[in-house]
Symmetry: C3
Subunit: 327 residues, 3 copies
């Protein structure tokens, strides 16, 4: 596999089109922080499996269109190192997944995916410029902000119609009906759906492909992702969150990303990092619940914002907390 | 005209009162980024025309009071270069326009205009201090934040009563009734009202005075403002926004400012800038729709926040995007 | 008293447990910006008096648990100077007060206090890292953000039940019934409750203990706190705020902290500072009203966020406004 990858790299370097495809694949892989075209290929495969299984193929084509639009935009920027690593592509990929998931697919939505892909690159530079003072990455914030803007705008524009947005509503106290822990919770499915819900879909086969994509690039990332998902399911169950939400992985997908980010991407795995990551994952579940409440009156989903907020919170103090950064 | 202006400058430099008037006029002109007392004079004329035409003269007197309060406060600060350019005055001007537009005019509201003018200067320094790390200006954020605070507070205080605030409401999906593009849209009025709605009023004569004020200082600014307004009207129509909102210029006024800021104030006009500005204007329309939805439950208007957010977003990455900044 | 304090310092330095107790006491004192163990002792006494008087002793034990959890976490960080001054403890103290005030006390809530205390330290470092660019402190923002997160999450989790949270509601215009200024306002109780409401309780005896705690550390702090509370009560009455809210000190507690912060902690008392502080206190009352409106749809209290926002706003421009900082 290593030989095949270096063969591919050679090809990608010698041909402009193959080079563009290489960066597009890396863009998809960067959704879970991997700079690896094979990971991107497996991720795209997972997206197509999930989208067709859920009967919404526009999500799959949208992910390709969004990644391509963003990658094409990034090609014209100065920072070609980031571009080659796929760092201008992943938010466009998620915009392309997000819009057709929640909006009725019309020609205007395809235009919005292209515009969203382009603007996601501008938001990426903007946030990266702001955050570099504190040495923290933009994460998926550009995806969330662009998609939120367009989903919120869909309430104001007759040309954008909701497909699956939550109805705007004042928050209600959730009354727990099951006093028994894990009663009614399907831990297996909830954990695996947590992986695929990073791309807004519930699919076990897709999740296995996503995990395979992680594993070919980093075994630690795959492990942290899976453990993060499981821990989040258990914490949400202990707190008696809504069963269907837990079972669909909706309390776990942000935790998956928090776990990979804190545990393997921005720190080297070791005991102190493990404890820090576990606290971060647990807190992500609270942030998920809190954002669900905050967004209820405006009728939009949290997307991966709980991950973004919790990870920024735990990454900024990194150097003050981690002794390994001393040297 | 040039001779008259330099004669005026001489007078303003030699007399404290005339100097203060000069800075107050520049303060008004800075609402649309111009450092020119004649522009300010024409803008004040436009405000008086519009306010009296709409039967709410308090708006006109408020604009003068707010600009004077803010200019007076700024006079006591160290940064006299910014003060002389009117950069401490424009937010006070807009606070003075905004409060009597939305609140019943009582003695307390006049006090609030004075307080708001004073605090707008403090917010201006605060935001400028924060944003100078990224070389971006405060724009009209101080006006928006101070006015939002007071309008939101009006719900909590019996001494401040709403005059024209939107009723707090959960967002509803807008159902489009006209499938035909531009059906029911008055492009001419919508475009011109877009100019005057920067000052929260719908007046064609006022708009012509605002454009004249821009033109005496910068023809590019006048051109970009007008084109930005037209483009925003077309985009909002394509997205099937609410007709009365479009026709009153409510989707265009933030775009006017985005167009002037991105196209002529912070960049030199050229092709790459033009494309960047057009994308910025289009995205401003989405931000306008999104903020309308977000603010619906708390019953306040967006004011120029869509402009502020979109322009910050497009201005921070400026140096990474624009080749002209390389040198 | 001075001799007793230095005797205590000696003991605290020579014994690890006494040292930990010393830092825990200073942590409590830092809620009102004092680095003094005796102040902390008087504050804890006030909390116990108030909590037992209101029939909710969990608030008192929570304050101890939260301060200890945060202090224990801070002990493992590099910045031991801040730790010794109690700067990692005060937000944990307030989290421990806040959660049992608004949530039904269950074993999960005790776990939340511990988690909240730990996370409050991470938030403190995060915000301090971000704000040090502008030389501004984190104030009580970590407490507010952690507690907001958990209170918002309580709507999503059946395992966390509201005890005293406001019902989520769209804002309504307050209709004033008393045209006469101060009619129905109990200025004495409102002013004193304003002091103790910093710790979310209405108690005159507690307020006297809080003032005593301030006075043993700084007479100016005690004076500014009291005057800030009185001014806020008068401003809220002039604006015809809701009588019961004013009488319970709910318009005054943030103003108390603004007054101490602007008037005595981050500036030396002098005329220009006094004027600046008074404007800051008046504006805090508007921010309090505004945040009440903003938070109405999501059903959480403002906590001390009006103080945090107003004080950040007035502290960032400090060096541009205060001539004393020139040297």
């Amino acid at each position: 596999m290593h030989a095949a990858l270096s063969k591919w790299s050679q090809l990608a370097n010698s041909n402009a089109l193959l080079g563009f495809i290489d960066v597009t694949l890396r863009g998809c892989a960067q959704v879970m922080f991997q700079n690896n075209p094979l990971t991107g290929l497996l991720f795209f495969a997972a997206i197509f499996v999930g989208a067709f299984a859920e009967g919404n193929p526009a999500v799959a084509f949208g992910s390709v269109l969004g990644t391509v639009a963003a990658t094409f935009t990034g090609m014209h920027l100065k920072d070609q190192t980031s571009w080659k690593a796929g760092l201008f592509g992943y938010n466009g990929c998620l915009v392309g997944v997000g819009l057709p998931t929640f909006l009725e697919v019309t020609p205007i939505v395809w235009l919005c995916i292209i515009l969203g892909g382009v603007v996601s690159v501008i938001v990426t530079i903007c946030i990266a410029d702001i955050l570099k003072t504190w040495k923290v990455a933009a994460l998926t914030a550009p995806f969330v902000l662009v998609t939120w803007t367009m989903l919120l705008a869909s309430y104001a524009f007759g040309g954008l119609n909701s497909h699956a947005l939550p109805l705007p509503n004042l928050p209600h106290d959730l009354v727990a009906h099951t006093p028994d822990l894990l009663d009614g919770i399907d831990v297996f499915h909830a954990t695996f759906y947590g992986i695929s819900e990073v791309f807004l879909m519930s699919t076990v086969v897709g999740s296995l492909l996503f995990l395979a994509g992680l594993a070919v690039s980093s075994l630690w990332a795959a492990l942290f992702g899976l453990v993060g998902s499981l821990l989040a399911v258990l914490v949400a169950s202990l707190l008696l969150g809504e069963q269907s939400a837990i079972n669909n992985g909706l309390y776990a997908f942000s935790a998956v990303l928090t776990a990979i980010a804190l545990g393997s991407t921005f720190n080297k795995p070791r005991l102190r990092v493990l404890i820090y990551t576990l606290i971060g994952v647990i807190f992500t579940v609270f942030v998920q619940g809190a954002l669900n409440t905050v967004l209820a009156p405006v009728g939009i989903p949290t997307l991966t914002m709980p991950f973004v907020l919790a990870s920024w919170l735990f990454l900024v103090p990194n150097k003050d907390v981690m002794p390994s950064h001393r040297q």
